[in-house]
Amino acid sequence: MKKYWAILTTRTQEDMAYRANYFIGALFRFLPLVTSIVLWYAVFKSMGGTHPKIEGMSYQNLIAYTALVYISRGVSSMPGMTRDICNDIKDGNLNRYIVRPINYSGYQIVYRLAHKLVFWLIAAVTFPVIFFLLRHDFTHQIQPEEWVAFIIALIIGFWIGMLFSLTIGLLAFWFLEISTFLYVISTIEYFLSGNLIPLNLFGPKMFEIVGKLPFSYEAFWPVLILLGKVAQHQLVSILLWGIGWVFFFLIVINILWFLGIRRYSAVGG
């Protein structure tokens, strides 16, 4: 474990070398939130009535949802991870990991975890300001069990985001040039995670399906739990399903690595 701790601290130092870049990133991350607020305001205004709702969600709910999504995506999104893994395989940089007594997947996970820690260190300054400004939109009194479920869902989201990126990255063993594929995948992931709009707005039939996909844990479920929109009896089954996805990806990654490394051509001197 000591070696992975060392990777974590080294990576943290590397990130800190670009702290100004991070700070600006964390600060302006919320810029699209303004667009969402304007958009939802226009939608609800056009609906008329005293307390209009879409699929059981009020204007306040949707603003709170959009803001909270920044927390769950802040945990689950792995920017650049898939591309980095693809490049490692494509350019032969994987060699330097294979010859040393470390596990490449483990290395990648710790490397990204460190990145997340630095992000959250800086986000700890910016996030509270945003949530203070939007405090009137958080109407639900969060129950202790919802806090617990929210934290567990966030952890599941983190692992699914990480393992999904790793899975796609390892496909580079078979397909060396997958930049277009990565773009399509990241768009689908963004949409089906509930990043843009809550998944329950897709209508009950579609929601039956998309709510069961692994992406829904990357943004949608943690936020919905915190908004009090998930019935208590559903909490456990939703979390268990998510844990199932984590194990699914762990198995897939092991198979992909086992088969892929045998095909690896280690190009480049």
Partner: protein, 338 residues
């Protein structure tokens, strides 16, 4: 038991063939043609503990592919190899803790951090005890004269300085076997010599087994008593460097300085091929068996003020070996085609 044992090691790649032009690209979408390339073909050799062996061959000969198989990066198509008793491609941690791979064109240092951070990371990755780590680090920074550079960002180091740090990173865990793939590539002559001297001292002191590939004959001449030459994936020579010259060079050079400028090309050509002619200084390429008679003939026939007999430069011999094996392989291919 030898520390490195390689038996019939073979690596075959399937390379996609594409016809030229847009039409070729379109055809390639529907039907793909593959061709088999034997990057390494039935190579066998053994290396004993403490040996420093040079691995020679032109670009694409299969040197790096062999090193990659011996480091466990690639799986062989056929044949087998044991390094320190381990099958390299099983990548057991006990194995990986006992060898290192230095690649001149790739490095493991973190670009945006001082080199010392990457070195410390390797300490943890290899589980090196603190006392040993600082002792080895001190010793190596002293030898390579880079103490003051440890705290400098890697991106700010010169290529030569980076290679020195890379060497330290690879040797911190005191590997018993070291594979070096073009460690001096791109370096200036001074930096090349520094690296060479270091490798020589380190090998002598630590009895480490080293397999080295380099295109610079100076590296090979200075460091390796034994060389393995491969071309087209096949081993074509394995033995002492001096033997290459005896085995593959049928000629020697006679360098003469004339006192009297009264001599003609025709007269000199009788003794051998004129390879250099500069006023009264002439270099003749003479058949090995004719050296004695040619020398005495030259001394008798002309007014010679100085005469020396030299071996053909090793670069030229190696070049000859490569081109001979190229011809040999082409003949084999043509023979098979017929």
């Amino acid at each position: 038991m030898s520390i490195i044992e390689v038996k019939n090691l073979t690596k075959t790649y399937l390379i996609q063939k594409r016809k030229p032009g847009v039409i070729g690209a379109l055809k390639g979408l529907f039907s793909k043609e593959y061709t088999k390339i034997n990057a390494v073909n039935q190579v066998s050799f053994q290396v004993e503990e403490g040996e420093l062996v040079g691995f020679l061959g032109p670009n694409g000969a299969g040197k790096t592919t062999t090193l990659k198989m011996l480091s466990g990066i690639l799986y062989p198509t056929l044949g087998t190899a044991r390094v320190l008793g381990f099958l390299p491609w099983e990548r057991k941690n006990e194995f990986r803790k006992q060898f290192a791979l230095v690649m001149g064109q790739k490095n493991q240092l973190w670009w945006d951090l001082p080199a010392q951070e990457s070195l410390f990371l390797n300490k943890e990755i290899y589980g090196i005890p603190s006392s040993a780590y600082y002792r080895i680090l001190d010793e190596m920074v002293e030898l390579l004269n880079v103490k003051q550079l440890l705290s400098v960002m890697v991106r700010e180091l010169s290529l030569g300085e980076r290679m020195k740090m890379e060497l330290i990173a690879c040797l911190l865990h005191s590997p018993r076997v070291l594979f070096m793939d073009e460690p001096t590539i791109g370096l200036d002559v001074v930096a090349q010599k520094n690296i060479r001297d270091f490798v020589q001292k380190y090998n002598k002191k630590n009895k480490i087994t080293i397999l080295l590939t380099s295109h610079y004959m100076n590296d090979i001449q200075a460091l390796c008593k034994r060389v393995i030459v491969i071309n087209y994936g096949q081993k074509i020579f394995d033995g002492p460097l001096a033997e290459i010259i005896e085995k593959f060079s049928a000629h020697k050079l006679i360098k003469i300085v004339m006192n009297n400028p009264k001599f003609s090309k025709e007269q000199l050509s009788e003794f051998g091929e004129i390879v250099e002619w500069e006023s009264n200084k002439i270099v003749l390429k003479v058949d090995r068996n004719q050296i004695a008679s040619a020398s005495s003939g030259l001394l008798n026939q002309f007014e010679v003020s100085d005469i020396t007999i030299e071996e053909i430069p090793i670069e030229d011999v190696i070049g000859e070996v490569f081109s001979n094996s190229e011809r040999h392989m082409k003949n084999m291919v043509l023979g098979e085609a017929k």
